[in-house]
């Protein structure tokens, strides 16, 4: 089974990466873009024997403990089986 995890900065937290990218693309002529925020994205493969329920629990724990930093980030999970449904 596959899962996707999207990690984004909480809205109030400064995003130096996004800001620097935005500033740079402004100077090279991307006039219509008003904001850029950068996040992380993970594609995770699980053992085929894992049930959707187990997978969701495992991935949630992983996203919380490892993939994101709950102090400054939020995350969102998509299980492939679910997104197809």
């Amino acid at each position: 089974m596959k899962a996707k995890v999207y990690v984004t900065l909480k809205p109030s937290v400064l995003d130096p990466q996004g800001k620097a990218i935005h500033h740079a693309i402004e100077t090279i002529g991307y006039g219509t873009i008003t904001d850029v925020r950068q996040g992380k994205y993970f594609e995770i493969t699980l053992d085929d024997a894992t049930s959707a329920e187990e997978a969701r629990a495992e991935i949630t724990r992983l996203a919380n403990d490892v993939l994101s930093n709950p102090v400054i980030e939020d995350f969102r999970i998509e299980l492939d089986s679910e997104s197809e449904a």
Binding site: L9, S12, L14, P16, V66, I72
Partner: protein
Amino acid sequence: MNEPVITPELVKSHGLTEEEYGRIEELLGRAPSFTELGIFSVMWSEHCSYKSSRVHLRRLPTKGEAVLQGPGENAGIVDVGGGLAAAFKIESHNHPSFIEPYQGAATGVGGILRDIFTMGARPLAAMNSLHFGPLKAGADASAEERATAARNRSIVAGVVKGIGDYGNAFGVPTIGGEVRFSPCYSRNPLVNAFTLGIVRRDQIFYGRAAGVGNPVIYVGAKTGRDGIHGATMASEEFGEEAQSKRPTVQVGDPFLEKLLLEACLEAMREGAVVGIQDMGAAGLTSSSSEMGSRAGTGIEIDIDLVPQRETGMSAYEIMLSESQERMLIVAEAGRERQVIDIFKKWELDAVVIGRVTDDHRLRIRQAGEVVADIPNSALTDSAPVYDRPVKAPDSPPAAPEVGQAEGSNEELDATFMRIVTSPTVASKEWVYHQYDHMVRTNTVVLPGSDAAVIRIKEKRNSLAMTLDSNARYCRVDPRAGARLVVSESWRNLIASGARPLALTNCLNFASPERPEVMWQFSEVIDGMSEACRAFNTPVTGGNVSFYNETDGRGIYPTPVIGMVGLVSDTRHVTTQWFKQGGRAIVLLGATSDDLGASEYVLATRGRLEGRVPALDLDLERRVGEACLKVIESGLVESAHDCSDGGLAIALSECAFSSYRRKAVGFEVNLEGGLGAAAHLFAETPSRIVVSAPDENVDTIMELAKEHGVPAARLGRTGGERLKIRVNGEPVIDRPVSEVEAAWRRVLPSMLEVASLIAAEESRTS
């Protein structure tokens, strides 16, 4: 403006007492507005006002020949000759680093870098002193202890990565520091960051808002809601609710800081800058009121002009925001355009937000209305000062005498290995390999020796610097402990070939509201002062961090000393490592029965016992003078001070390989009437191990004698083994490579996994 009504609860939630609130009303002659309440709460916080420490800090010696600027400015400054001066300071970022290790440590580095370049100095070296809880739980540990160890590992990994990423991207070499471990830091990690910069003597800048009518210019990052109430947070102990304070985390942007540095230095060179100050703790509030207060002027700010990152921010939020990478500049009237253009070249915001006034007040306007109007003195000089109760503990904290624990030589050898591999003694390479310690190509002594050394390009001299602490000693005897820490710093510089000039310090303590803690504080100040006088190394500044306490469990008193010295000729720079075989090993100073409060006691008893080592400040000074003499006369090839773990550890460290140099073994015989454990592991101060060609030994002995310093020839370098005999009897005999490998493996083996996760969490793409 719809501001909250001021209630007793609101006052309390701002960390102000009833009396303090009464004082505010008195000073203003009325009740404060909400914005004013916020301003008072940050300026009167422990972190900004030093209200508990000020009465004690006054006792520190701060004057000396080399001192150009003592405490009171953003950094201390000493003369280093040739028209140049060194600006340096240390700053704590303990609480933010507990809440968010990576960003907390990173912004700590950012803050101290700004403190240095505010003075016109280009930062040329950084160091850090780190204290953490244990990385590993014992075999029979509870689940909770294991969780604590795991949390400690992730704090270490995050902090080290945060320091590295910020300093590396900024382009300052991080060339030294210390990393120490003890259970008291488990929920109270200490992150103290030091920076040193060089400035021409005639181009020093100060944080003064001089010249009535001059424009006040805001430069750097836009203001967001970051870290609001960071300063009050650092002034409270942690409890469960620390979690809920999390959203205030500030995020650092080293790239922006690097641009800010270049732009500020350029604006200063152009001569348009009258005064400049970074916005650190308490942001715009402290920078504007302090700049006005130092110059005896006032500042008026139109809050609507402040560049804002978020919408709908109130005056309160803008004044209290701790967004990073911002500075306040007072420019010469009529030259604001020039300043703004320089910042524009570096792609930075620069906006005139106010003027210097003559009325000694901080006045804030929003939409034309005055939302705060406070006399500067109420925020600075008239801030509360407490002479808090001081009480010595009834019984000394540890049993006075410590005897030898081992019965056999095998047991002594096992103790040796236990000490070599204790995390506090083990190699810190895992940490400093993550720091760029070479950028700017000045680093003459890379991390790993007693002190780090940078050359001053195009001059003959070099600067040596060291950070030291020893909370074990300060816990057992704060006054003697502080003396010992200062003398260790002194010895580290001496062994590197430097003459110590001055020091900065960071005083990390538990809650000042407990009389025993205040007693520790007061004792540390006195011990430090005594040592500073003995060595003629005045205090040029520092920082106090109280409330390092979680759920009632406080840290050991942990003063950290950052000492800076001058090597008059770069050719005299000396490192601790034996350079080749066939050299004589000489000990300057002599070992006594000082096993108390040592790494040995921790390794064998598992807890602190005994008295701290006895220190004779005058002897320490003489050992230092003798050592400097033998170094400057070109008599020795290496010099290493003895500290944690005693002589056996010091000798091993001399033998281990370093950079492009292979390991060099040795054979020594330690003689005298002490027990074997004391010979090997006593932490007697005032001792330096040197190695030298045979033909120089007589001269070294004579010089030692002239200085009234005991000295003994211990043995020779050479071979591939580490051989220590005590009164002729072999006690330790192992391949250097084996001991070295064990010593190097400790931190990587505990931290590798934690560091992968920290890399993931730290948001570096």
